[in-house]
Amino acid sequence: MVITTSTEKTAETRRPDPPPPSVLRRIAGHPRTPIIVALVLVCVAMALLSDSFLSSRNFTNILTQSTVVGIAAVGATLVIITGGIDLSVGAGVALAGMVASQLVNGGLAGFLGVVACLMIGAAIGAFNGISVAWLRLAPFIVTLAVLGMGRGLTLQLSQGQSVYGLPSGLTWLGGATIGAVPVPVFLLAAMFLIGHLVLSRTTLGHQIYAVGGNRQAARLSGIPDKRVLFQAYLIAGACAGLAALVLVGRLGAATPTAGTGLELQVIAAVVIGGTSLFGGKGSMVGTLIGVLLIGVINNGLTLLNVSPFWVQFIQGALILVAVLLDAFNQRRLSVTDA
């Protein structure tokens, strides 16, 4: 009979470990619990307030309307985990969509237009990445400058005119449906799955967390910190290119003001999803929930006939709440050294 071991062990341990937390406690302590609760509460409230909220058609609607923000947010999550920020995403969407559409209207094959759109997005991301990683410029300023340049360039190239009558080769990704489900919804799901795998299962993801958590420590561990930063911005740019394709497809046109204010929604979704603006912390699952929360709120406010001006106000307020939570978490952690 061996029943003495457990009592022996506790006698030996100087400071006995606290009992493992119960399932309920673990759920309560999980960093994503508040936002999931918020999402559920908002859904319940909308369902009570509006008859048309609870329908499969409306859900498809919410998802479709979330695709542009969602796809851009996948890239922005990587950038924000490195401790950076990308304000140029909306301008990138407009410029990539406009140039690709003009090229296709000028005779380029539709699928080459798709490639061009992705390449332009990636090129903008590469520009941001080089500026931040090797020229050591502040991400906020660089991407703000690129936002201005991108908007200006888009207006100049289009002379303020939208481009219509695009071939289906270019608009398929954004406008087509497979069965009852729009293609962008599949795209959104695929991008989040890939993004999640990159962050949690690849060397690049591991390195992104390390560089955002402590760049010097990462470098001294042999992590090529500049290349990692560059890759994060490059991917974010490519995501903006893909978001541009979805937007062009959904509207059936490229408009020079496309994606105005998109950066606000994207950053809101990422930060609400628990990614820290201080860098080093965050997850793709959190961002997905953040995107859905914003999507549901936008949709609900529309169903309730709330003025679109208020919608923008509420998005700003959401960012504020999320940043407050982030800052509180940061402070709580910094005083736990006993």
């Binding site: 100087r14 400071r15 470990d17 606290p18 949690s200 299962r201 690849t202 060397t203 690049l204 993801g205 591991h206 390195q207 967390y209 390390a210 958590g213 402590n214 010097q216 420590a217 990462a218 470098r219 001294l220 561990s221 042999g222 992590i223 090529p224 910190d225 080093g280 912390k281 952690l333 736990t336 050294d337 006993a338």
Partner: protein, 496 residues
């Protein structure tokens, strides 16, 4: 009834404080009197930091009372400072780009109707600087331009400018060189003569004996001994701290030394001039010198953290690349002195911290194999004796000694050809120190060339097979272990 015993200005009466799962302080009673230095000794986690947090008003006691001049200690840090109790921390808390004057009156600008009274501010600043022996520093100089020792003294002056009567020192010498540390101790002695009540916390036991009137020892949150300095000797003190006899024996032992691994010739870099030195496989070579002599600067230049403007550095006959991350891939691993700022990702888990950069061992084509990663990390945790409740716990939650073990364990995972150790036991308690020394030896025995420096010269002399003495960025001497002599080393370091 009056007696000669000075009336205590601070009194802890049966003070207890617990954190979840940890009894940090238990029924501690201790007094601080004006004109005396009370030293607080104890291992990491013994409760010294908690004691300071309670005294500074940063945290509240669970039970017991803390009295300041007979009344209760205020409950917020700001009010405690106003009441005359100031803490000088290990890390500087100044604003580097502000002038000395602005730093000294920070938060306490003398003003009338919102207008700063420059004259009054200058007089107060001058008076405070005078008391710490910095009377001739220009007040308009940004503190960034001052030396570390001067900035440390400036911190004290700032407390004095706030009319502090109780000063608490938390490991103030850990970042200072030997001579600067001595200067600080002299200043503290002078402040004692001015009637300040001083609490001094340090891992350097010899410092305690030098300046303390009373030594108090904490162990596992309990005050296990307190008495006049004359009643203590080093062995008794260590025994009280550890509750077992463990003189801090250094585990140096003879070991085979192989071929030359690190070859530095005529190296110029920021803070380093024409440095030439060699380290062989299996050899532990120390760098000694005063602060500013270029010890850290030399290691940083080799690690690729500063630009090597001239000279050659070869490892196993191949030139060393310039960039820090390439240097690591070349087998040269640097363990920085400031492990919180440069060594670890504090928010990330212990497992992740052990795996940065060693991807070859647990990835395939860019994909992580999480199971393998965790197995390797657990093996490293066991091998290096890292005490952690859960390997998925953030590294920032571990003690200094355990954090240093993580840095070393990761360095070992790189199977280093050359190991650059910058003050590897800084701020680490006696027990963990011995463990770290043992691991350094093991790494040398496995063939690494070890280049070691420390703020504690005795540590370097105890661990090294050979030392280079640095002065003003130059290598001014080389001694083999048989020739080690503390006096001679310090003489070389100071003047040549």
């Amino acid at each position: 009834m009056r007696s000669d015993v000075p009336v205590p200005v601070v009194e802890f009466r049966g003070v207890s404080k617990s954190y979840p799962g940890i009894r940090a302080l238990h029924e501690v009673s201790l007094t601080l009197a004006p004109g005396t230095v009370t030293a607080l000794a104890g291992e990491n986690g013994a409760g010294k930091s908690t004691f300071i947090k309670l005294l500074s008003g940063a945290e509240a006691a669970d039970s017991g009372r803390i009295l300041l001049r007979g009344g209760d200690l205020p409950t917020t840090p700001g009010a405690v400072i106003d009441a005359g109790v100031s803490v000088i921390y290990q890390e500087l808390t100044d604003v580097p780009d502000m002038s000395l004057l602005d730093n000294l009156v920070l938060g306490r600008q003398p003003s009338r109707l919102g207008v700063v009274r420059r004259g009054a501010a200058k007089r107060a600043a001058r008076a405070a600087l005078d008391r710490v022996g910095l009377a001739d520093l220009p007040l308009d100089r940004p503190v960034r331009q001052l030396s570390l020792a001067q900035r440390q003294l400036t911190e004290i002056a700032r407390c004095l400018a706030r009319d502090a009567s109780v000063l608490v020192f938390d490991e103030p010498t850990s970042a200072l060189s030997e001579s600067d540390a001595q200067g600080l101790l002299d200043t503290i002695t002078a402040l004692r003569a001015q009637g300040m009540a001083i609490l001094y916390v340090s891992h350097h036991l010899d410092e305690l004996f030098e300046i303390a009137d009373t030594i108090a020892v904490l162990r596992d949150g309990e005050l296990v001994g307190v008495g006049p300095v004359g009643e203590w000797d080093e062995a008794k003190l260590v025994r009280a701290m550890l509750a077992k006899d463990m003189a801090h024996a250094y585990p140096w032992r003879d070991r085979p030394v192989g071929a030359e691994r690190l070859d530095v010739r005529e190296l110029d870099a920021p803070g380093v001039k024409r440095a030439t030195l060699q380290v062989k496989s299996g050899e532990i070579v120390g760098l000694v010198g005063l602060a500013g002599a270029g010890r850290t600067e030399l290691l940083k230049a080799l690690a690729g953290l500063s630009v090597r403007s001239r000279g050659n550095v070869e490892v196993d006959g191949h030139p060393l690349p310039a960039r820090a991350h390439d240097v690591v891939r070349h087998g040269v691993v640097y363990a920085p002195e400031d492990r919180k700022a440069e060594g670890l990702v504090l928010d990330a888990s212990v497992v992740d911290n052990l795996s940065y950069g060693v991807y070859r061992s647990f990835t395939r084509a860019g994909w992580l194999r999480r199971g393998r990663q965790e197995r390797l990390a657990r093996a490293a945790i066991a091998g290096f004796g890292v005490k952690t409740r859960d390997p998925r716990q953030p590294a920032g939650k571990l003690s200094g000694g355990n954090q240093q073990k993580i840095v070393l364990a990761r360095a070992a995972a790189h199977t280093p050809k050359v190991l650059l150790l910058d003050d590897p036991t800084r701020g680490v308690d006696v027990g963990a120190k011995a463990g770290i020394h043992e691991h350094v030896l093991t790494l040398a025995e496995s063939g690494a060339a070890v280049l070691l420096t420390s703020s504690d010269t005795d540590e370097v002399l105890a661990m090294a097979d050979r030392v280079y003495v640095l002065r003003a960025g130059r290598v001014v001497g080389e001694l083999r272990r048989a020739e080690f002599d503390r006096e001679r080393v310090l003489q070389l370091a100071a003047a040549g």
